[in-house]
């Protein structure tokens, strides 16, 4: 039985040719699509070489960085961190119930579907767009930045939280149910302990990414170091821009390292 050689019969050979043809035309289509998007994005690598002189001048304008207002930069960086912290914290608080309500093994479909669609909407719009809207609504300053991060992050975390809930082991939940616990108690004792490590890890990850986002919401007037960054770029004050960018890089890297260390303890 094991040593049977298989000779392709005529129809088999024909289907293989047909399949190969399909595969080739699939690749052709993909290439054509990539070419079309190349054109529409106006990608011109030649210009990088052509204008290399300009680039070099620009880079030279950035050095040496000008740290003369460092105290002010650090203060604004701190505000940025506070924006990220509160944006994330409010989002976590809202994402816990919303995440549970959009998990298939917890909520019935007539709750799950509407909640998921709203979360999709919150997620699909970028923080910057929300920031512009909230600046119009509540005025300039850090608060619209907090609101923008809060709204967008709620959409992201609710989805991640729900996915964690959907992978739990149903056994412990049933164990809790069998003691006569209420539905809420089933969630508190059966579900939450199981998803806690993942939830913490997702929240910390979103905090890191919100610190990065908080550095740019200022560009539309929503407070923090982004405001300085935007003003110095617009005023062609490149040494100052460089100093601000260095401060952002150092802070974000330090936070990433810190939050990785915290996350490791929970996994």
């Amino acid at each position: 039985m094991t040593d049977v050689l298989i000779f392709p019969t005529r129809p088999a050979r024909r289907t293989r040719l047909w399949r190969n043809g399909l595969k080739l035309s699939g690749w052709g289509l993909l290439l054509a699509f990539l070419g079309w998007s190349w054109q529409s994005a106006e990608i011109a690598p030649g210009r990088l070489v052509q204008d290399a002189g300009n680039m070099a001048t620009l880079v030279r304008d950035f050095v040496p960085p000008n740290f003369s207002a460092w105290r002010f930069y650090l203060e604004e960086m701190l505000v940025t961190l506070h924006i990220a912290l509160w944006g994330t914290l409010l989002a976590i608080v809202c994402a816990i119930p919303l995440g549970l309500l959009s998990a298939e093994n917890i909520a019935p479909w007539w709750i799950l579907q509407p909640v998921r669609r709203v979360m999709d909407a919150l997620r699909s719009i970028n923080e910057m767009v929300f920031a512009m809207i909230f600046v119009a609504a509540v005025g300039l300053g850090p608060f619209p930045g907090v609101l923008a991060l809060f709204v967008h992050t709620t959409g992201v975390l609710a989805k991640l939280f729900a996915e964690a809930v959907e992978t739990i082991d149903p056994g412990p939940v049933e164990g809790v149910r069998a003691t006569g616990a209420s539905a809420l108690q089933e969630i508190i004792f059966g579900v939450i302990p199981q998803v806690m490590p993942l939830w913490i890890s997702y929240s910390l990850y979103r905090f890191e990414s919100n610190v990065r986002s908080a550095t740019v919401v200022g560009m539309v007037g929503a407070g923090g170091i982004g405001v300085i960054l935007w003003e110095s770029i617009r005023g062609f004050q490149f040494p100052e821009t460089c100093a601000v960018m260095l401060i952002i890089i150092v802070t974000v890297s330090a936070l990433d390292l810190a939050s990785q260390a915290v996350r490791k303890r929970f996994i």
Binding site: G175, T179, G180, A181, F189, P193, M196
Partner: protein, 281 residues
């Protein structure tokens, strides 16, 4: 007449297109220790799950009668025609359930897992906030002492062995002050020594507290050693119901078919010790 703790009448259950329980009726009196045997897929687990309302029966009977599947536990309806009673959660608190896979919450401590046994009796908000009184903690500790797990109370449940987890699960049922304990293959995942230990504890609870115990088993030896009455299921119906000692080998091979030898002689080859030889402290 007799004081029945569990009354099942005309229970039917279908999963998809496969019917697993057929017009099953069963009465169990207070204080009995009953073995539920049958080959895999005979409906043992499904029957036990119905008794605690973890699974709902078919709304209509086998012959499309109007009503089917009444289950009374301690005089109250727990489910009827596929609908759970409104008070099912309160009723569950009087029924201890022991699972094959223990179903403890792995990331909670042993103590917290046992405290869950109070949830059905104390106010909902207090349970949800984990506010357990000192006397409730003492009671949980007493349950742990009874199953010999007191010194593990601070350990995470997931760090225990299978036999230890099962004893914690029994302590949880004790904390519930359960009047009935349903044990679904409690020893199927355990080594012979832990299995004997768990069965001894269940027999002790039955003997000293007069708690009704229904235990589904895969090995007939344990039924013979611990349970005066045996109910044998075959293809979703009751094939035998009576005194365990009258269950002869011919009857067994009818129940189990080809599986019989493996079930009568456990693979480890240890003859199971007689019941009340060992009293649990």
């Amino acid at each position: 007449m007799q004081d029945y703790v569990i009354r099942v009448s005309e229970l039917n259950k279908t999963f998809g297109s496969k019917q697993v329980l057929f017009d099953l009726s069963l009465d169990i009196a207070r204080g009995e220790m009953v073995a539920l045997i049958g080959s895999s897929g005979s409906g043992k687990s499904t029957l036990l799950r119905h008794l605690s309302g973890l699974t709902r029966a078919d709304a209509r009977g086998h012959r499309q009668r109007d009503e089917s599947g009444h289950i009374h536990v301690m005089g109250d309806v727990i489910q009827q025609s596929g609908r759970l009673s409104r008070n099912v959660r309160r009723q569950r608190s009087r029924i201890g359930y022991v699972f094959q896979q223990f179903n403890l919450v792995g990331r909670l401590s042993v103590m917290e897992n046992v405290l869950l046994g109070h949830l059905g009796r104390i106010p909902r908000w207090r349970g949800a906030c984990r506010l357990f009184s000192a006397s409730e903690r003492n009671e949980a500790m007493a349950s742990l002492r009874r199953v010999g797990m007191a010194e593990y109370s601070d350990r995470r449940a997931s760090t225990l062995s299978g036999g230890q987890q099962q004893r914690v699960a029994i302590a949880r049922a004790l904390t519930q002050r359960a009047e009935v304990i349903l044990a679904d293959e409690p020893i199927a995942s355990l080594d012979p020594e832990s299995a004997k230990n768990v069965m001894d504890i269940l027999a002790n609870i039955n003997a000293t507290d007069k708690t009704t115990v229904i235990v589904s088993l895969h090995q007939i030896d344990y039924a013979r050693a611990y349970c005066p009455r045996t109910v044998a299921l075959k293809k979703g119906g009751i094939h035998f119901d009576g005194a365990t000692h009258s269950l002869c080998d011919t009857r067994l091979s009818q129940i189990y078919g080809a599986e019989a030898p493996e079930i009568v002689t456990p693979p480890h080859g240890n003859p199971v010790v007689t019941v009340h030889q060992m009293a649990v402290a």
